[in-house]
């Protein structure tokens, strides 16, 4: 490579046609209520783990849409599965099961099953 004194900046555009959809597709198959989410943030507002840590379930769902696997793995570990997010959700999204299914999907990715 020639030395030009600068590099080509990576674009920060998120192209949804090119994102990693393995976790998203697994979720849509196993917990279809994921698609009902309107990103209102009620789940995050009531989150027990979020009160003490920087865990943000709304952000996690955005990462899932964007296919950011390593960020998803970090976030999904922080949930303590209390289920309050499921209780408050105005759309009936089973957030607790979403976390469980995300963890399943991550294991499957590790084992090259999906």
């Amino acid at each position: 490579m020639s030395v030009f004194g600068f590099k080509i900046n990576e674009a920060r555009v998120i192209d949804y046609d090119k994102t990693d959809k393995r976790i998203l597709n697994y979720l849509l198959e196993n917990e279809p209520s994921f698609n009902l989410c309107i990103f209102c943030g009620s789940c995050t507002a009531t989150c027990s783990a979020g009160n003490f840590t920087d865990f943000n379930i709304r952000k996690l769902k955005m990462f899932i849409r964007r296919g950011l696997v390593s960020e998803i793995a970090t976030e999904a570990e922080k949930c303590m599965l209390c289920g309050k997010c499921f209780l408050v959700c105005p759309r009936g999204v089973n957030n607790r099961n979403i976390i469980l299914k995300v963890r399943d999907a991550l294991t499957k990715i590790e084992n090259h099953e999906i």
Binding site: M1, F4, G5, F6, K7, I8, N9, V13
Partner: protein, 355 residues
């Protein structure tokens, strides 16, 4: 919508372009990097179209590069432009043609400023008079050089020896048009088609038989912007913009990029080489790059001028594959020869571009 209605709306997007008697101001970048373009433009107007055009040797840079780099103040650039207008007045012309899109943007900005702030105009008159003893008139008609080619595109099509069609397959060439941001994004009414539907280059391509490609990043900046590349360490931002455009246009298999701005032509041409060196990625068919031409060069090609007289060999991306596609005959031996037949040095072939 009825056709009449569409035509009525389209009228609002047109600009008046003078028919004859032009005062021509050159571009710093174009006369350095694509010197034959401006020469051919003058030749086309004078010899082929029989127009009166004056290329004033006393004309200077508009100082646009300094202005956009915060080195030259607005007051100074207004006085420099006022001097150009005074020379135009002295030569007896009222219609100005501007070769450069940066200059064009500056001239429009200045004229609009004078229109809205008459006291600034009065101050500029005073500054110019104090500095040079000159007086000036604002041009009656101001056009970019691509506007003039657009205006005479049908005359050029009638005189054309070639069309933008592959004679073997019979299919029109896929052409990307890229319009400089300062042409009509700042002051839309000064551009043909405004900022929404700039058609100055698309109109030429249509008239000469090519197919205009519409791709997602069609109106994205090429990344040239002076502030973006003046500091070497910042050039990654500049090249990233060009790369974004190349990536976006690549699936449409463009045969050619046509640009009307000196900076866009230069950067889209030369960044292809830089990307090929940095990432090993070469755009275009057979890793040959996508040729980037000026509107005069394309006009010259369709009119059957010798590609080497049009200066195509001075581009980073070489045009032989394009010339073959157009069925244009050329002599490869003459590529690097001067007009009096002397051999010029032949440039080295880049490692990742397949010439």
């Amino acid at each position: 919508m009825k056709d009449e209605g569409k035509k009525q709306i389209w009228k609002d997007y047109q600009k008046d372009i003078a028919d004859d008697h032009y005062y021509y101001v050159r571009s710093c970048i174009r006369q350095s990097f694509f010197p034959a373009s401006e020469e051919f433009f003058l030749r086309l107007l004078k010899d082929d179209l029989g127009k009166d055009v004056f290329d004033d040797p006393n004309h200077t840079t508009c100082t646009g590069i300094g202005y956009h780099s915060d080195i030259v103040s607005f007051e100074t650039i207004m006085t420099v432009v006022a001097r150009h207008f005074s020379m135009m007045k002295e030569s007896g012309y009222k219609n100005i043609i501007i070769s450069c899109v940066t200059s064009f943007g500056i001239y429009t900005e200045i004229i609009e400023t004078w229109k809205h702030f008459p006291e600034v105009l009065a101050k500029t008159r005073e500054n110019l008079f104090k500095a040079t003893g000159r007086e000036f008139d604002i041009p009656e008609n101001m056009a970019h050089a691509s506007d003039i080619i657009y205006k005479f595109k049908d005359e050029i099509a009638q005189k054309a020896k070639y069309r933008l069609v592959n004679p073997i397959t019979g299919k029109p060439l896929n052409i990307v048009e890229h319009i400089g941001c300062h042409y009509s994004k700042m002051f839309p009414k000064y551009g043909v088609g405004g900022a929404e539907f700039p058609e100055v280059l698309a109109g030429m391509i249509d008239a000469w038989g090519g197919k205009v490609i519409d791709y997602p990043e069609r109106r994205h900046c090429c990344g040239f912007g002076f502030r973006q590349y003046l500091v070497q360490a910042n050039r990654g931002y500049s090249i990233a913009n060009s790369k974004k455009k190349f990536d976006s246009m690549e699936p449409y298999k463009p045969d050619l990029i046509l640009a009307n701005c000196p900076g866009c032509t230069m950067f889209m041409d030369k960044w292809q080489y830089t990307i090929s060196e940095m990432e090993g990625k070469t755009y275009g068919e057979n890793q040959q790059g996508i040729p980037v031409l000026t509107y005069e060069e394309l006009a010259g090609l369709v009119m059957g001028y010798n590609p080497w007289d049009l200066g195509l060999q001075y581009h980073q991306i070489q045009s032989e594959p394009l010339l073959h596609k157009l069925g244009i005959e050329f002599s490869i031996e003459d590529k690097y020869k001067t007009r009096d037949g002397r051999q010029m040095p032949i440039p080295e072939c880049p490692a990742n571009i397949n010439y």
